[in-house]
């Protein structure tokens, strides 16, 4: 029970089918939930488990569910949506769960939908995850055959339809209100909040949007209880976490560890440390829109509060490593270019500000930077901060930039002083 999320995943072998999943205890949690018939108690259990959203924001899952108006006060249909639009650069954790054990996700989806008494559920999947599409479609079909989905599930009187929606590709679809617009067949532009989706979501109906990894934890909580789930963690947040490392390390990959494992443990023990000939210079801890941590912050625990206290965010928990043979200015340019390209264009600071930042960084990287460029960059990290834009895209985009300007200030200065990128051949 140390690795409840990944225990039944065998890379290279394909996902367990419904028989194998059932044999390993699968769909027992669903049966328990339907027998107890206590959606309110279920939400309380998830609150007690201290499960926080694994998509990046870390919002307590049980609390989110509790915002759906209960019973006949809710407008129906109520929707439950799985955000499987994993696109945060450097993030590859949901892919493992979607390809490796789709029934865990489906069981969690049915339980979560039951908690808020949803009528319809969608898995919102990015188009490029073709293997995941196959594994999820097959698993959904099997779950219908067994009576875990559809009308009157296992004779409980509860009914749920689950559909797989594959997106047409755009980073902003991962933002939950943009995702709702995409599902309504519109441009995926974030919506003004409030009203929040639990009250006014898809087609104006109560809607919960949860990340894949978050929901895969739900059957585990139901089966083993909130106390046991909290004990899996080394922090105040319950459960385990899928941590990942990419960049010039010996063994890039993913590992399920207690929430609150340190960066050192993940980077040195599991990823095998830096490749020979490369030195660690910085760590982006949780996907592209989190602040750089310095090479000497290895003892930071990878849980929501500890990473925040260290000056960044846990985000998706998948780290990107900056080594000494990679230009930090070039790396930030790559990140800002990405966000500029993927901006939905709806609000001005993001649409205009990000391309401007990209042009300045490009000039510095090409040896055409001027000393006052750094002031312009710094000012923009404030201008694009939370509260100035419609959604979190631009504030997220400037996180790695603002920390790079401090941590790698001398590298920026050197580009400008020497009129060249010192890393270019």
């Amino acid at each position: 029970m140390d690795h409840p999320l990944t225990a039944n995943i065998r890379p290279g072998e394909g996902p367990p089918d419904i028989e194998a999943y059932g044999k390993a205890g699968g769909y027992r949690a669903l049966q328990k939930v339907l027998k107890e018939a206590d959606p309110k108690g279920l939400i309380q259990t998830v609150m007690d488990s201290h499960l926080r959203g694994r998509g990046g924001a870390g919002f307590p899952t049980g609390r989110k569910w509790s915002f759906v108006p209960p019973g006949d006060r809710a407008a129906h249909p109520v929707y439950f949506i799985i955000n499987a639009d994993e696109m945060e650069p450097g993030t590859f954790k949901d892919r493992l769960l979607l390809e490796g054990n789709p029934h865990l996700l489906i069981e969690g989806t049915i339980i979560g939908a039951y908690a808020i008494q949803a009528d319809i559920a969608y898995i919102f999947l990015r188009q490029e995850y073709t293997l995941a599409k196959r594994s999820c479609s097959r698993a959904i079909a099997r779950a219908y055959e067994r009576g875990y989905l559809g009308k009157n599930i296992l004779g409980s009187g509860y009914s749920l339809e689950l559909y797989l929606h594959t997106s047409a590709g755009r980073y902003i679809c991962g933002e939950e209100t943009a995702l709702l617009n995409a599902l309504e067949g519109r441009r995926a532009i974030p919506r003004a909040k409030p009203p929040f989706p639990p009250v006014t979501g898809l087609w104006g109906k109560p809607t919960i949007v949860n990340n894949v990894e978050t929901i895969c934890n739900v059957p585990i909580i139901v089966e083993h209880g909130a106390d046991r789930f909290r004990e899996l963690s080394r922090s105040v947040d319950g459960g385990t976490k899928l941590y990942g490392v990419s960049g010039r390390v010996k063994r890039p990959g993913l590992w399920e560890l207690p929430m609150g494992a340190t960066i050192r443990e993940i980077l040195e023990e599991h990823a095998g440390g830096m490749r020979d000939g490369f030195k660690l210079r910085g760590i982006i801890p949780g996907g592209a829109s989190t602040d750089f941590l310095a090479a000497d912050q290895l003892d930071v625990k990878m849980d929501f509060d500890s990473v925040a206290a260290a000056g960044s965010r846990l985000g998706t928990g998948t780290m990107i490593i900056l080594d000494d043979r990679t230009c930090p200015v070039g790396m930030v340019l790559n990140l800002i270019r990405f966000f500029a390209r993927e901006s939905c264009g709806w609000c001005t600071p993001c649409r205009e500000g990000l391309p401007w930042l990209a042009r300045i960084l490009e000039a510095i990287e090409n040896g055409e930077g001027r000393p006052r460029d750094l002031d312009i960059l710094r000012r923009h990290t404030g201008l694009l901060a939370p509260g100035h834009t419609f959604c979190a895209l631009a504030p997220g985009a400037v996180e790695p930039l603002q920390s790079a300007l401090t941590l790698f200030e001398e590298d920026f200065n050197r580009h400008i002083r020497e009129n060249r990128c010192p890393w270019r051949k």
């Binding site: 990015r126 993913l254 990405f338």
Partner: protein
């Protein structure tokens, strides 16, 4: 004209959404699957069928990265240009592919065989640098293996 086959597939998708327009992205993807891309004529017919205006459906179609409003090659190469792949040397690999095919990102080869497009992080960063050709993912190919891989798509 939308073919009976396309219409059947689109109808099946529409049933999954509270309102007809909810299925419009699936509908656009369906015609693209059959025709390779979405022309103005196709878009207008589809809009009519979905009870949307061509302008409305057009605005949706131009928003999404993987809906093609221009003809593309027989095979579409999606190159991950995001940060982990950049750190791991996508720059050199991409330069090689561009030289080999004689096109830049965003272009199609003269023989209509390949279209080369930049893509959002492909979510396989432990295998960086990665690219996709049609629906196949390739992790960390070197210059020699990429030539062999490309040769497999005629």
């Amino acid at each position: 004209m939308l073919t009976p086959e396309e219409l059947t597939e689109i109808q099946a998708e529409l049933a999954r959404y509270e309102q007809k327009r909810g299925g419009c992205i699936e509908a656009l993807k369906t015609v693209q699957r059959h025709r390779g891309w979405i022309s103005d004529e196709t878009l207008a017919e589809l809009a009519d069928f979905l009870e949307m205006t061509p302008a409305e459906l057009g605005s949706v179609s131009t928003f999404y990265n993987l809906l093609f409003r221009k003809p593309v090659g027989r095979h579409v190469i999606l190159v991950c240009t995001s940060v982990s792949c950049w750190v791991m040397g996508m720059g050199d690999l991409l330069e090689h592919i561009e030289k080999k095919l004689g096109i830049n990102l965003g272009e199609t080869t003269a023989d209509g065989r390949f279209t080369l497009l930049p893509n959002v992080c492909l979510g396989a960063c432990d295998r960086a640098p990665v690219l996709m050709i049609d629906s196949d993912l390739y992790g960390d190919p070197d210059v020699k293996t990429i030539d062999e891989i490309l040769a497999g798509y005629v």
